[in-house]
């Protein structure tokens, strides 16, 4: 297609004038505020796992729990509806995202054998079997039926139980039932939830 110099200038001028007249703004958008990264994330309420204050947190994960979406934690912040912290968090709690998305996070049970200098991974079944085995052995060895003055006490002094802060009321009820039935008296948890 041949365009003469005159036609080219005419087209340019008339076209440019037309664009200007009808208000084509080719300038940049002056501010593009970042979109909210938690706009459509799935919110999951949970409890901070660190101290006994047991602050409520909201864990934001990618996706809407559709079957094909694999959720990934993108943000954790305080739960404003939680009566204990009302949305606030301490620095450890505020870093919970790094607690979850972390290559060093423990995902399966590990054991360090007596005398060993390293941890080895074991299966859940094996871990539970070994714990049960040791509980039985320790209880048999340290169970006290009667104290020095002959009174029946039925206690197991060789085992102690310590609970974590995310243990719920219901869980701790079961803990107390189980441990008392074994005769455990050194029983403590820091849970307030």
């Amino acid at each position: 297609m041949h365009i003469s110099r005159r036609a080219f200038i005419q087209t340019t001028v008339i076209g440019g004038a037309g664009l200007s007249a009808f208000g084509f703004d080719v300038g940049p958008a002056y501010a593009q505020a970042k979109t909210l990264k938690i706009q459509r994330t799935t919110e999951t309420r949970s409890t901070c796992p660190y101290c006994s204050v047991s602050c409520g947190v909201i864990i934001h994960t990618l996706g809407d729990r559709a079957k094909n979406a694999i959720p990934q934690v993108v943000h954790v912040e305080g739960d404003p509806d939680h009566p204990i912290n009302r949305g606030t968090l301490c620095p450890k709690g505020a870093s919970l995202e790094q607690d979850i998305v972390n290559e060093r996070r423990l995902l399966k049970p590990a054991v360090r054998r007596p005398g060993s200098d390293r941890w080895e991974d074991i299966s859940w079944d094996q871990a539970i079997a070994e714990i049960a085995d040791r509980v039985k052995k320790t209880r048999d060895a340290t169970f006290v039926e009667k104290d020095q003055r002959g009174r029946t006490v039925n206690r197991c002094e060789g085992i102690a139980f310590t609970g974590g802060c995310t243990d719920t009321n219901e869980f701790n009820y079961l803990v107390v039932k189980t441990m008392r039935s074994l005769g455990v008296v050194y029983l403590e948890n820091q849970a307030r939830v």
């Binding site: 940049p28 958008a29 002056y30 501010a31 593009q32 505020a33 970042k34 979109t35 909210l36 990264k37 706009q39 943000h75 954790v76 912040e77 305080g78 404003p80 912290n85 949305g87 606030t88 968090l89 301490c90 620095p91 709690g93 505020a94 870093s95 995202e97 790094q98």
Partner: protein, 314 residues
């Protein structure tokens, strides 16, 4: 252009007014920081790093509890620690959350030569638009608080956004939300100013700090981050908070005077060129010297420029 909560009030280096300005009523927002109840836990630092997806990094140790000496391009919020001995010999441990102050008259915005690299929203937030940033770092020298920080890898400057993404959606900034002692609060500027005044009065009347006051420096038109200080007469104690922050006068001279004058003068260029053409005629190709003609002869003893001689010989 963002709608809703974030309307633009000022654009850096932008000729003319702000498009669409002044059509909506909007409250100004403000951060309230009560340094007297800060415990230096740094939850705000962590919340800032986490929300803005900046790397968790190794900290420095320089015999204080401070995370690092100063804010960085990817660390926008830093508690500054200072051990202060009072006149009566007792010790005070001062902690101040250092971040962008979101000035009413921002030195960075005034210094910036790139159109649209820094904007100020009508709610008072000063926000950097990195896609328009040219990396000249004038904002660094224009800031009275040493806040904008340059990233030499991306050649852009970064700073606290007052969580404009959160505030634009009606949420509070991440640092404010995390604060466990409640020494950080967020709301409208008038509410925060009233809260700060009441707290300063309480400190003066009941807590033995007769000089307690609110840091909201009028020299830059006030800020959208205000502090309650034990001693308003010595803000320098709190990690070098300037008592009378000033925008360097060179930027005022440049942007307020030199630039408009130059714009007006540049308007004369076209008429001057036109009259020069009319009176002097078009510039003709100059014949080589020695062949005669009206061309300007080289000065006595001056050699002709080599480029000019080449062009003539072609």
């Amino acid at each position: 252009m963002p709608t809703g909560m974030l309307q633009i009030r000022a654009i850096s280096a932008h000729p003319g007014g702000v498009p669409g300005r002044g059509v909506q009523r909007e409250e100004e927002v403000c951060k309230y920081i009560d340094v007297t109840t800060c415990i230096g836990c740094k939850a705000c630092e962590v919340a800032c790093v986490e929300w803005n997806d900046m790397p968790f990094q190794q900290t420095t140790f320089d015999n204080t509890y401070q995370t690092m000496p100063a804010t960085q391009w990817n660390y926008w919020n830093l508690i500054k620690f200072h051990e202060h001995q009072r006149d009566d010999g007792t010790q005070m441990w001062l902690m101040r959350k250092d971040q962008c102050m979101h000035c009413e008259d921002p030195g960075c915005l005034r210094a910036c030569p790139a159109d649209g690299a820094i904007v100020q929203y009508t709610n008072g937030i000063v926000d950097f638009q990195q896609e328009n940033c040219i990396g000249c770092q004038y904002c660094v020298s224009g800031c009275p608080f040493d806040i904008p920080k340059f990233n030499s890898a991306t050649k852009k400057v970064y700073k606290c956004t007052l969580c404009s993404d959160r505030v634009g959606q009606g949420l509070e900034p991440a640092c404010i939300k995390s604060c466990p002692t409640g020494c950080l609060k967020f709301g409208t500027k008038s509410d925060m100013r009233a809260l700060a005044d009441a707290r300063a009065k309480q400190l003066r009347d009941h807590s033995g700090f007769p000089n307690a006051g609110v840091y909201d420096p009028p020299s830059i038109g006030g800020t959208h981050v205000i502090y309650v200080l034990h001693d308003i007469t010595k803000p320098e104690l709190y990690g070098g908070l300037p008592a009378n922050p000033q925008i360097p006068p060179t930027f005022t001279v440049w942007k307020r005077f030199a630039k408009p004058i130059a714009l007006v003068l540049s308007l004369f260029a076209a008429p001057v060129a036109f009259f020069h053409y009319v009176s002097q005629g078009p510039k003709e190709p100059q014949p080589p010297p020695g062949l005669g003609g009206p061309g300007p002869s080289p000065g006595i003893g001056a050699k002709p420029a080599p480029g000019g001689a080449d062009r003539v010989s072609e």
